[in-house]
Structures are given as structure tokens and as C-alpha cells.
């Protein structure tokens, strides 16, 4: 399967002569499918925030509204995914409306394969984040309104095909997420929220400077990605702009040493926010590098790739080492959640077609793995009423469902076969060892260290000698099982059938075109400048 993928990506300079035909294609057509995915949550958030809710009487209704909104969105996004024309080298579901013509800003949305993968992840995470937020009891109306706004910002940043729209949604995401942590976080929520605001704010400044740099260098007439990213820049300008983009991405992904917000946010934020931030929120960083640096500024990307590989290696090693040293389970989850970001960054740094393809798949799989490990450790600490690793010991037999899900999370993080991360990690390493051997080996060593850290933590917490002095322990609730199960299930689903299930006895896709087929759309165009560095 890997070889087929690699060969497919390598050879695709023209669209596939036999793109898959999905049963039911063309049933539903909308020119505004991406706008619906962005603005429906905003509209529902506004409605929720003005709904009367005396003494929390309608808290359950509000939760249901948020859930069914996300379910509806997932339905819309699944239609988009199902109807997506695989292997086409162009942006699909485009919407283009003049917004600020005086400065060349256009409301331009559109997705290609990598964008579609991110959108599917965003839709899935929307449902999971709401399920993970069922425990919210205070100011329910505000919480779900902010959560929906945060989701809309992430979806908007994914679908943006204009730099103005990208900056708008990228920067806007900081506000609801900071407020969510400030309002519903743990004991150290103030520190967590302000750190997040400071780091993400700095990232937004860097992105805005990079965007303005591109704008100025391309004549100052347009922010449309179609126009500005296809205009060649001077090599020096590419490096300067690339540095800004990389800095913005490094604060969001996050990469060492721009990770200062991650530990506190993952450890203090409410569960739904942890899921959202650890998955789509942070994957936006890698998506930004792919979209604005790798795909648009090849000279800048080549020059910055050793730096990116170095930071990727440092991130993975740091995450694993810090997880080994910490005595707080939620901190351990936070550190381990840094690892998939480092692997994805390595793939982007390697700049080979197969490593880039691995990174694109890693946007999806890494996001799921990071969210799963951070939220599984958070749920264990909630259910065990302590996060102290000195106290937590041998709770596995008393929380069997959580034990299973945590083990799956650990396997997903490490990228073992059958898990979706296996495919993405392997592709990343196959590509990276050729062009970034030192970085590749360092990241691999970091993954080995991660395995040790996971073994130590999981062995102690789940399978160690039970601590009789520890507080009472209970297993995951139905809601917690569902949201953790969905994360683990998605990792397994893509790991087992990345090409989508087929109709029995045929080569026709059943209903899912397969993420492996979808994410390669437009990928040959993106990797074309690096084709010379591809495999044997």
C-alpha cells in the first residue's frame, strides 16, 4: 500500500485517468459548502448566546444544539469529502467574492486534498469536542458559543484561499480559545490562557508580517493565494517571508522552543478545548507551512529545512524526555502530545514527495493521536481524582475501558501497524532519511524515547501495584468512552482501510472515497519543485 501511494505521488504529474466514481456523486451540489461549514457554527453560536437560559434550565438543550450542529456540519463535510474529485490538481468547492477590492482582498475559499483532509478532521473533532464537553456545568451557554466560534475559526483558516481571509481566521481563533481556558480551565488557568494568548499572538504577528511581505513583494495588488503564491519572489525575500511563516507555524504546532503554552494549556484547559487545540488547532501550524512555504516558496523552504528538521527533532526528544521526568499525568499527556507535531514537521522539512505526503496524512493522524493521548490522560486524572504520578498506580483493573483506550492512544502515538499514524510516520521517515538523515535519526531516537516514556507512564499508572492510599477510582462514563472511542476508532479506521472500503467483489468505493485517495489531490503540484529529491 505504501509503495503504491509513493509511486502514485511520484508519478502523478497529470490527473489520474480513472478517478474514482463514488456512488451518489452529484446528488448534492452547493456552491457554498465551505461557507456553510464556517458560518453555520457562527450563526448557531450567536443564537445560543442570546437564548434565554434562566438558572441553567436549558443547559441540556444548549448542549444538544451544539452536538446536532456539529453532527450536521460533519454531514456537510462528509458530503464534501464524498463528492471530492480525487487526483485533480486544482482547488475545489471554490467561492470567490470581492471583499476589500481597494487592497486586493477577496473572500476566497477552496480546498485541495490536504485541505479536505483537514476539513474532515475538523468536522470529526467538532463532534468529539462537544462530547468531551458534556461535563461542563457552569455558564453552559457561553461555553458552547465560544467552542463553536473556535471551531469556525479553525475551519475558516483551513478553507481560506486568500491571505486576508487566512489571517482573519488564524488570528480570530486566539480569542475564543483564550476565553474558554480563562472561564472553564483548572487551577492554573490564568497562566495557561495568557501564555496561549501571548504565543499565538506572537505567531499571528509573524504571520501578518509574512503575509504583508508577500503582498509587498508581489506588487501590492492582491492577497489572493492564486495570484501571490504563484508569483516568484527573490530568494532573499523567500527566506525572510519563510521565516515569518515558520515562526507563526512553530508557535501553533508547537515546536521547541515555541512550545511554552502547550504544557499549561493541555493540563489546565477543559477537555473539549484540549481535544480541539491538540488536534485541528495545532495542526494548522503544519498546514500553514505546507500551504504557504513548501507549496509557494521552494527556495525559502529549502534554506529553512535544516532549521525545521532540527526543531522537529528537538521537539520530539524534548516531549519524550519531559514526559519521563514529570510527576503530573496531565503534564505527561501534554508533553507527549508534542510528538506528532515534531514528526509532521520532519516530513515537511525533508521536502521529498513521499515525506510531504506523509506529513499531509500526518495532519490527520497526528492530530487524532495528539488529541487522544492528551485527552486520555486528562480523563484518567479526572476519574482517579488525582494527577500525581506518585499517587496514581495500578488503576487499570478498576478502569478497564480507559485502560484499553489509553493503550490504543499510546500505540497510536508511536505509530504501530494498523494505526493510521503508522502509514504517515513511515512515509515521513522514508522520505526524511534521504534528505534530512540527521534530523530523521534524531526524530526516530525521539520516538524510541517516547516509547520508553509511554511504557513507563502506562505501566505505572495502569498496571503497577495498586496504591491503597489513592482516592477512589471510576471507569470512563458513556460520553467519555464515546469521544475517546471515536478518536481511537478514527485512527484504526484510517490505519486499516486508508483507501476506503470497497463494494464487495468490485473495485468501487462503498461510500468513503478513502483518505489515501483524497489527500493526494493537488499534491503533485505542491511537491513538483522537490521532485528531483524523490526516491530511487
Amino acid at each position: 500500500m505504501l509503495a503504491a501511494l509513493a509511486a502514485g505521488i511520484h508519478l502523478q504529474t497529470v490527473p489520474s485517468p480513472t478517478p474514482h466514481t463514488i456512488p451518489g456523486a452529484g446528488i448534492f451540489q452547493s456552491s457554498y459548502i465551505l461557507s456553510l461549514a464556517i458560518w453555520i457554527p457562527v450563526a448557531v453560536a450567536v443564537v445560543i448566546s442570546v437564548l434565554p437560559n434562566p438558572r441553567g434550565r436549558f443547559d441540556t438543550v444548549i448542549k444538544q444544539i451544539a452536538f446536532f450542529t456539529n453532527l450536521g456540519l460533519m454531514f456537510i463535510l462528509f458530503i464534501a469529502y464524498n463528492q471530492f474529485s480525487t487526483f485533480l490538481p486544482n482547488v475545489q468547492y471554490e467561492e470567490k467574492i470581492a471583499w476589500l477590492p481597494a487592497i486586493g482582498a477577496v473572500y476566497h475559499l477552496g480546498v485541495d486534498g490536504p485541505g479536505m483532509v483537514m476539513l474532515v478532521l475538523s468536522g470529526l473533532i467538532g463532534i468529539i469536542a462537544v462530547l468531551a464537553s458534556q461535563g461542563v456545568r457552569e455558564r453552559v451557554r457561553s461555553y458552547f458559543a465560544l467552542l463553536l466560534l473556535a471551531q469556525a475559526c479553525v475551519t475558516g483558516a483551513i478553507a481560506a484561499h486568500d491571505l486576508f481571509v487566512l489571517v482573519l481566521f488564524w488570528s480570530a481563533a486566539t480569542v475564543p480559545i483564550t476565553l474558554l481556558i480563562l472561564g472553564w480551565g483548572g487551577a492554573r488557568r490564568e497562566a495557561a490562557a495568557w501564555r496561549l494568548a501571548a504565543y499565538w499572538g506572537a505567531g499571528s504577528v509573524a504571520l501578518m508580517l509574512a503575509v504583508m511581505g508577500i503582498y509587498a513583494a508581489t506588487g501590492g495588488t492582491s492577497f489572493d493565494m492564486d495570484a501571490v503564491l504563484k508569483s516568484p519572489l527573490a530568494p532573499r525575500a523567500e527566506v525572510i517571508v519563510g521565516l515569518g511563516i515558520f515562526l507563526a507555524a512553530a508557535t501553533r504546532l508547537p515546536l521547541f522552543p515555541f512550545h511554552g503554552w502547550a504544557r499549561d494549556v493541555y493540563a489546565e484547559a477543559p477537555l473539549g478545548v484540549v481535544v480541539l487545540v491538540a488536534s485541528t488547532g495545532t495542526r494548522l501550524g503544519a498546514y500553514l507551512v505546507l500551504r504557504l512555504l513548501v507549496a509557494a516558496e521552494p527556495d525559502g523552504a529549502r534554506l529553512l529545512s535544516p532549521l525545521m528538521a532540527g526543531l522537529a527533532a528537538l521537539t520530539v526528544i524534548y516531549g519524550a524526555a519531559a514526559a519521563l521526568r514529570t510527576v503530573d499525568l496531565r503534564h505527561a499527556g501534554a508533553y507527549l502530545a508534542l510528538v506528532p507535531g515534531g514528526v509532521t514537521a520532519l516530513g515537511l522539512a525533508a521536502l521529498t514527495p513521499i515525506s510531504l505526503a506523509g506529513s499531509v496524512l500526518g495532519l490527520f493522524t497526528g492530530g487524532l493521536a495528539a488529541a487522544l493521548i492528551a485527552s486520555a490522560f486528562t480523563t484518567i486524572s479526572d476519574r482517579a481524582q488525582t494527577r500525581n504520578l506518585a499517587v496514581l498506580s495500578g488503576v487499570g483493573p478498576r478502569m478497564p475501558k480507559l485502560a484499553w483506550l489509553t493503550v490504543l492512544a499510546a500505540l497510536g502515538l508511536l505509530g504501530v501497524p494498523l494505526m493510521a499514524t503508522f502509514t504517515s510516520n513511515e512515509m515521513t521517515f522514508f522520505g526524511a532519511f534521504k534528505t534530512q538523515p540527521v534530523g530523521g535519526f534524531a526524530v526516530a531516537a525521539g520516538l524510541a524515547l517516547t516509547a520508553v516514556a509511554l511504557a513507563v507512564v502506562v505501566q505505572r499508572v495502569l498496571f503497577g501495584a495498586p496504591n491503597t492510599d489513592a482516592p477512589a477510582v471510576s471507569d470512563a462514563s458513556l460520553g467519555e468512552t464515546w469521544y475517546l472511542g471515536m478518536l481511537a476508532g478514527a485512527l484504526l479506521w484510517v490505519g486499516i482501510v486508508p483507501g476506503g472500503p470497497k463494494l464487495p467483489g468490485t473495485d468501487q468505493p462503498l461510500f468513503d472515497p478513502g483518505i489515501a485517495n483524497v489527500f493526494v489531490a493537488d499534491l503533485p503540484e505542491i511537491v513538483a519543485p522537490y521532485a528531483g529529491t524523490s526516491g530511487p
Binding site: 488570528s171 483564550t178 501578518m208 504583508m212 503582498y215
Partner: protein, 468 residues
């Protein structure tokens, strides 16, 4: 019909005079409708706005070139009228000492802005600026005469500097007409003798524009009435900015003498305003400092001294004047201390939403009006290769945004507290004030949605000033 375009000015002045006379002689009609005065004034402003949008579209000249009604004037007058309208609508009138004066002075200040925006020569420009300034002083002195006196002295100093500079410019150009000055300076070199008066004028205007929002940061500023704070931070500052835009356009041919100076002032305001906003706890002080940061963005747009930059600055000016005028007014007496706003989101949802959106817009948070304006100015700065100024502005805006989030957190994420701990009574809920708050929110949202035609009008305004 030629004079129909001056009807808005006439309506505004007539309403202000009627309010002052009614209060002075306690006319029966005034006493009978005293509680409905804000609504009556709002209706007058709405009519004036309607007439302005209908009749102001035609370009015309009045009083031998003293007043020029062009697209720039149309834009600024509409923005000032809207700012006064929403501030009056959303204000807590129970917190004002003298509703008649607190209503009349904003009208006079708006009239000052309208005159300055239409000014064809420096004398009319100066007159409009002074009128707005005096109205600000009068309303501030109602509650705090000491503050009023201080503001008067500062304003007089700024006026003296400005008059001195304008006199030199007049002597150099040989005309007081703004278009004439531009033509006369077109062939001049940016010499030191010319630089000194231009610097005096620009400095005086920057001082006048910025000291009112910055003054609100001091403890004394919090004790002024909310409407007077809004008037000073928004409309009076806008008058100074309008004068700055017109004068920088007129002396544009010798922009080399003031561009660097303007860059330094704008950088100081953007960074200083944002950083200082993080350090204060009073919401009204915070709003003033955040407004100072946005004011720096407007000056940065002028520092580019070309059409797109000025158009972006004018576009941002519209967003600024609405949010900066309305924010302190809608906070009412609760704006003095952060604890007073605790949990307002569940007690007064309309007012809390208006405060949050006005503050976020001033801080340049997406997707509110301020973000669009700052982005447009940022694009102009990038086009003109002022990337260092852009970087400073972005840092300032980030600091402002963090400060604004702090206030939004208090509004929405903290549970309401008892009245005794709040330190100030909750604003009285009326349909009128709720509608005012909703209109403010809708206006800021509409500014983003309809950014294209608004920016296009601002661009026509900049073109009308003779910029290329």
C-alpha cells in the same frame, strides 16, 4: 436645493441650541419631555444622517471655498453622526449630571467635526477643531472643573502651536486655501524653514488627538462623566485626526519634512497604548489606551503619504470614532473599576455585548471593524515599505487585544457579585438603551460586512483631498 447639503449641520446646531435654551429657561416642553430627550436627539441625528447620505453625495463648494462638500466630508460627517447616535443611544443617562448639556455638547462637537471635514481653508479647519475641543472641555468640566481646566490649557497650547505653524505655512504658500497650499508647495523643496512649521502643526494635532484618550488613563479621567469621556476619546480626537488628514494632504508635496516625525509618533502611540492598556485595571482607562493604540494606526496610515494609505486611515477613522465614542458611554459608571463590570454579561446582556464588541474592535480583533481598518492600513504600510512600523503596530495591537480579552473575561466569565461589592449601581435597563447597544453591535458588524463600499468611499475621499 444647493443648500440642502448643509441641512445636517443646521439640524445638529439647532438641536444643540434648543437643548441649551430649554434647559436654561426650563421651558414647559423641555420639562415635559426631559426623560425622552436622548430619544429625540437620536431621531434628530438619524434625520441628519439620512439627509447627509442623500444630499451629501453631490460635490459642492460654499462660502467662497470656505466649505467644500466632497466624499471625504461625506464619509467623516456620516461617521461622526453615527458615532454620536450610538453613543447617545447606548449611554446610561442616569449616570449623567446634566442630560441637556451632556446631549448638547456632543452635538456641538459633531458640528465641529463636520465643519473641519468640510473645511476648504485652514481658518475653517481650525474653527471646526476648536469648536469640537471646546465642547469637550465644557462637558468634562461639568463634573470635574479641574480636569476641564487642564484640558483647556492643553488644548490652548496645542492650538497656539498649530496657529503658529499654520501662519508660517500661510506665509510660505501665500494662501490659506488647502488646495492652494498643495499647489504652492508642489514646487517647493522640503527645507528646514518649511519643516519647522509643518512639524509644529502636525505635533499640535497629534497632541490634541492623543491627549484625550491618554488622559483617560489617569485616575482623574475615570471620574469624568461617561459621555464626556466618550466625546473626548472619540469625537474630539476624530476632529484632530480630520485636521491632520487634511493638513498632511495639503503639505503632501513636502512629506519628507514630517513623515519620519509622524512615524515616530504613531509607533509610540501604537506600542505605548497597547503596553499601557495591559497595565491598567479600570475598563474606561483601558478603553482609552486601546483607543490611543488604534489612533497610532491611523497616524501610521497618514505617514505613508499616498492615497491608499490615507484612504485606509480614513476607513479606520470611521471604525475608531464609533467604537471610541461609544465604549466609555456604554460602560457608564461601571467603567471606573473592573470589579464593577463583573458578570454584566448575564445581568445586562445588550450592554455587555456592546462593551465587548467596541473594545475588541478598538483592539483590532478579527472580525470586527477595527481589524479591517488596521489590516487596510497594514497593507498600505507594506506597499510603502514601512514594514518596521507595521511590526510595531502589530505588537501594539496584540497587547491591546490581550488587554481587551481581560475585560471581556470579567464581563462574561465571572459570576455576578452583590451590589455592595460592585461599587456602582447597575445601569437602568430601558428599551432605548438596549436598542442603542444592539445598534452599536450591528454597526460594528456591518462595518466589516460592508467594508468594500465603505473603503471605496474612503478612497474617493482621499482622492478628493488631491492624493494620488
Amino acid at each position: 436645493m444647493k443648500y440642502a447639503a448643509l441641512v445636517p449641520e443646521a439640524l445638529v446646531v439647532a438641536a444643540a441650541v434648543a437643548l441649551l435654551l430649554g434647559a436654561r429657561w426650563r421651558l414647559p416642553a423641555y420639562r415635559r419631555y426631559r426623560t425622552r430627550l436622548p430619544a429625540v436627539v437620536a431621531v434628530v441625528l438619524l434625520i441628519a444622517l439620512g439627509v447627509e447620505l442623500w444630499a451629501g453625495a453631490a460635490v459642492a463648494t460654499y462660502f467662497s471655498g470656505g466649505l467644500v462638500l466632497d466624499r471625504f466630508a461625506l464619509f467623516v460627517k456620516a461617521a461622526a453622526l453615527l458615532a454620536a447616535l450610538v453613543a447617545i443611544g447606548a449611554a446610561d443617562w442616569a449616570a449623567e449630571d446634566s442630560p441637556s448639556i451632556s446631549l448638547a455638547m456632543p452635538l456641538l462637537a459633531v458640528f465641529g467635526v463636520m465643519v473641519a471635514a468640510s473645511a476648504g481653508d485652514v481658518v475653517v479647519l481650525w474653527a471646526g477643531l476648536e469648536l469640537a475641543g471646546v465642547a469637550g472641555v465644557a462637558t468634562l468640566a461639568l463634573r470635574r472643573p479641574d480636569l476641564g481646566l487642564r484640558l483647556l490649557l492643553l488644548g490652548t497650547t496645542a492650538s497656539a502651536l498649530m496657529l503658529l505653524g499654520l501662519a508660517y505655512v500661510y506665509a510660505t504658500a501665500g494662501t490659506a486655501d488647502l488646495g492652494g497650499i498643495r499647489q504652492a508647495l508642489a514646487s517647493s523643496a522640503p527645507t528646514l524653514p518649511l519643516a519647522i512649521p509643518v512639524l509644529l502643526v502636525v505635533g499640535a494635532l497629534a497632541l490634541r488627538a492623543s491627549f484625550t484618550p491618554l488622559q483617560l488613563a489617569g485616575p482623574a479621567g475615570w471620574q469624568a462623566s461617561p459621555v464626556s469621556n466618550g466625546l473626548l476619546a472619540g469625537i474630539v480626537a476624530a476632529a484632530a485626526l480630520v485636521a491632520a488628514i487634511k493638513i498632511t494632504a495639503a503639505v503632501g508635496p513636502v512629506s519628507g519634512v514630517f513623515a519620519s516625525y509622524l512615524e515616530v509618533i504613531s509607533a509610540l502611540l501604537m506600542l505605548g497604548g497597547g503596553a499601557a492598556a495591559l497595565g491598567v485595571r479600570s475598563p474606561r482607562a483601558r478603553a482609552g489606551l486601546i483607543a490611543a493604540c488604534q489612533l497610532g494606526w491611523i497616524l501610521a496610515g497618514l505617514a505613508t503619504h499616498y492615497r491608499v494609505g490615507t484612504a485606509s486611515a480614513v476607513f479606520l477613522l470611521g471604525a475608531f470614532v464609533i467604537a471610541a465614542t461609544a465604549a466609555p458611554a456604554v460602560m457608564g459608571t461601571l467603567g471606573t473599576a473592573e470589579v464593577a463590570l463583573t458578570g454584566l454579561g448575564s445581568l445586562r446582556p445588550h450592554r455587555a455585548a456592546a462593551i465587548a464588541i467596541a473594545l475588541l474592535s478598538l483592539a483590532g480583533a478579527p472580525p470586527f471593524a477595527g481589524f479591517f481598518g488596521e489590516f487596510a492600513v497594514g497593507a498600505a504600510l507594506a506597499q510603502s515599505r514601512h514594514l518596521e512600523l507595521l511590526a510595531v503596530g502589530l505588537v501594539g495591537s496584540t497587547l491591546s487585544l490581550i488587554a481587551a480579552i481581560g475585560t471581556v473575561r470579567v464581563l462574561y466569565l465571572q459570576n455576578p457579585i452583590e451590589e455592595t461589592r460592585r461599587g456602582a449601581p447597575l445601569p437602568v435597563w430601558t428599551r432605548f438603551s438596549a436598542a442603542g447597544a444592539v445598534v452599536l453591535c450591528a454597526l460594528i458588524a456591518a462595518y466589516s460586512l460592508f467594508a468594500s463600499p465603505i473603503l471605496s468611499l474612503a478612497d474617493q475621499g482621499a482622492e478628493g483631498l488631491g492624493l494620488r
